[in-house]
Amino acid sequence: MALTEQELFHSLGKAFGPRIQLQTEFRGETTCTIAANDLRDITKFCRDELLFDYLIDITSIDNFGEDPRFEIIYHLYSLPHAVHLRLKLKISEDPGALDTVSDIWPTANWHEREIYDMMGLKFNGHPDLRRILMWDGYPFFPLRKDFPLEGLPSEMPDVAFTKVTPLEGGPFVTVPSTATSKDREPRARPPEL
């Protein structure tokens, strides 16, 4: 029997209480903020008890300059209940703080590899944490905010190389800050930023 969103989140709140740090709703979709060390308990409960059987996506955000710096977001969907749930957690750069969910939802395997590749965050217990888009041995994490859009030169003989791209006045670049988008996204980022 399909449960409503209210019933689902009520039972989630009942099971974990204050470990659900913040619960917000926006346009009919609920977002819960949790702590990194509660991740596995909560996601297991979500899958087994609340039947969130579909992990849509895992994304990561680099809030450069803040502490903790990174944010991971899990998008869950329950096919039996037709309900969305979003789990957010903040995490700092130090390794060992983040657990894998690839044994709970196998699809997380490649999502976590992509986050490792682009952001450099490592997942404890991941069975095969290799780069997925860039090649093994590429020395940078390109989606971090302190990585320049034009790239950095690198060289791996017989595998691949990269060069700095000429931006020639530049495409739109976002400068990380809380200013308005007009200030954050000048036509080109001045070289000193």
Partner: protein, 215 residues
């Protein structure tokens, strides 16, 4: 096909028989007698026994004529340009009209690499390796904005033009170019090939030897 196989046999013989002019310009003076294997039944000029059966031409012209009309592409389809490349091969545009329909995913029989799409750094050395596996003589067409300059991808991940790795003969603009543009590029390449000094480029030692013998 008879013409081509006859040409293969006759060219070296004709080249030797024709002799070379005194100024050492071998290729310009090298007259090739090309016997067509088809019988000619009507008189086309002053001597019907010769005309129509024998053509005098330059060695380079004959060689280039063969080359430019059987350009077998190596389809290096990397992005959406490859869709237009496939359209160029299909019946509406029909690249076979230019003798360039033989697209196989092996570099060993190819004459021209059509780099169609975004060349990422991850793919760049693989493209270069495939180019190196192609036998000489070989040409490269950079199809579309990405292959020519990196296109809209001013990015850490994209090579800014395949000409940084390979010698490109023809650039085709467009994002992606229409099949007509590819065919126009192919015709440009054919023009370029027909002006090449193939014999001297391909066999410099032999050309030198012949020049010495004439001197």
């Amino acid at each position: 096909m008879g013409v081509f196989s006859g040409l293969d046999l006759l060219l070296p013989i004709a080249c030797r028989a024709a002799g070379f002019c005194k100024d050492g310009s071998i290729l310009r003076a090298c007259a090739v007698a090309l016997t067509l294997l088809m019988p000619e039944t009507h008189a086309t000029a002053y001597d019907s026994k010769v005309e129509g059966n024998v053509i005098f031409t330059r060695f380079d012209a004959a060689l280039n004529w063969v080359r430019k009309n059987s350009l077998w592409p190596m389809p290096m389809g990397l992005a959406c340009c490859a869709i237009e490349l496939m359209a160029a091969a299909a019946s509406r545009f029909d690249i076979a009209r230019f003798g360039a329909e033989v697209m196989r995913f092996s570099p060993r029989q190819c004459d021209v690499m059509i780099v169609a799409g975004t060349v990422t750094y991850k793919m760049a050395l693989a493209v270069k390796r495939i180019y190196e596996q192609m036998p000489e003589p070989k040409w490269v067409i950079a199809m579309g904005a990405c292959a020519s300059t990196g296109g809209m991808y001013r990015s850490y991940a994209v090579l800014q033009g395949i000409d940084q790795l390979l010698p490109v003969d023809v650039y085709i603009s467009g994002c992606p170019p229409r099949p007509e543009a590819l065919l126009a590029g192919l015709m440009k390449l054919q023009e370029k090939i027909s002006g090449e000094r193939s014999f001297r480029n391909q066999k410099p030692e032999l050309a030198e030897k012949l020049e010495e013998a004439l001197a």
